[in-house]
């Protein structure tokens, strides 16, 4: 008895090995999975919407604080990260095509490029974050924060020593009320980019899983759903960044 017959007997009926037995055919399986994925993406959009609303409320009430705070963000890094994510979106969309056509080698190359881009994005994010953390442009609750109203003399001296105290002096020159609103910008900046960064990390796990399965030869023209749905997730991560970039880095 061959394997296929054994599988059919186990299930009590015959069906294609990539179609789960509760689906009529590959089309129905694909449509069901895709609909589920889109529903998940809807919840993702609403998830981010909460923070975007927070952002809009604070910005519309304190536009001058936002303008002031934006000078401490490096537009170049933001733009480079935008390009990195757009390229990764392109390669993952290409990987879906490769999977659909059974081009496993090309699919793996595209998935690896996507994963490398994701890693590159996180490296740039790390450079940006460490700069802000050293300068003290962080949550006011933290000890080494320029926005901490009860900052210790020791922490204050450390922050003043960073980059000849350029950032320190600019923040110190602010009225305490204005300084508070500028601090809110950085709290929101870290929440938005942090939540987005967590999504990039999750995407890297997902891409690694797809690469591993791809190397095992799991994907082909009759079994590419996982690649397609994984790519949809990756595109949503890109979509969020498309809005984050102008909202955080391009404030005039």
């Amino acid at each position: 008895m061959n394997d296929h017959a054994a599988t059919a007997e186990e299930h009590g009926h015959d069906h294609h090995k990539h179609v789960a037995h509760h689906f009529d055919d590959a089309h129905q399986q694909f449509d069901t999975g895709k609909f589920g994925m889109w529903m998940f993406l809807l919840t993702e959009v609403m998830f981010f919407a909460g923070l975007f609303v927070l952002y809009t409320v604070f910005r519309s009430n304190h536009p001058e604080a936002w303008q002031f705070a934006a000078q401490f963000l490096d537009t170049k890094w933001g733009a480079i990260n935008t390009v990195v994510l757009l390229v990764s979106s392109f390669t993952v969309a290409w990987a879906v095509r490769n999977a659909q056509l059974g081009q496993t080698r090309k699919m793996l190359i595209n998935l690896v490029i996507t994963l490398v881009c994701a890693g590159g994005f996180m490296v740039i994010k790390y450079i940006e974050y460490s700069h802000k953390i050293h300068a003290g442009l962080v949550f006011p609750e933290l000890e080494h924060s320029l926005f901490n109203p009860d900052i210790t003399a020791e922490a204050s001296a450390e922050l003043a020593a960073y980059e000849h105290g350029e950032i320190f002096d600019k923040i110190q020159a602010l009225d305490p009320v204005d300084r508070n609103w500028v601090g809110k910008f950085f709290s929101i900046y870290f929440c938005l980019t942090g939540l987005h960064g967590i999504h990039v990390l999750a995407g890297m796990v997902l891409l690694s899983w797809l690469i591993r399965r791809g190397m095992r030869g799991d994907f082909g023209p009759d079994n590419f759903n996982a690649v397609d749905f994984g790519a949809l997730y990756w595109h949503i991560v890109d979509l969020v960044w498309i809005f984050l970039f102008p909202l955080l880095y391009l404030i005039n």
């Binding site: 889109w38 392109f90 659909q100 009759d222 970039f245």
Partner: protein, 113 residues
């Protein structure tokens, strides 16, 4: 073989040419938003940036995410999300502006000591 007969027949197969054209368009729009972001547009900066971002998001959704060729149901789900975000935003921002002057008065008192 024409594009329409590629693959197993399940799902739409996007051509590399289309994907490449969309990538170039997205990079071009990124450059445009970078340029307009660093020039003074007399208060229109945010609107211009948001319009460009919306065009970019639409290109990604329609072509990279296959919505243009997909079942209308999936596009509808996505639009529902967008509409709800809009409602969420409009209600909260409207409400916050309604009460903002109370905070501002309080803050002014605080500032004057």
């Amino acid at each position: 073989m024409s594009e329409h007969h590629e693959g197993s027949g399940v799902g739409h197969v996007q051509s590399v040419k289309t994907l490449a054209i969309i990538l170039v368009a997205l990079l071009g729009l990124t450059w445009l938003t970078y340029e307009t972001g660093s020039s003074n547009l007399q208060g229109w900066d945010l609107s211009v940036a948001m319009i460009i971002a919306t065009i970019k998001a639409s290109l990604v959704a329609l072509f990279f995410m296959h919505l243009k060729y997909d079942r209308p149901l999936h596009g509808t789900v996505f639009l529902v999300a967008v509409v709800f975000v809009g409602m969420f935003l409009a209600y909260v921002v409207g409400d916050s502006h309604e009460y903002q002057h109370y905070f501002d008065e309080h803050i002014e008192d605080h500032r004057q000591g």
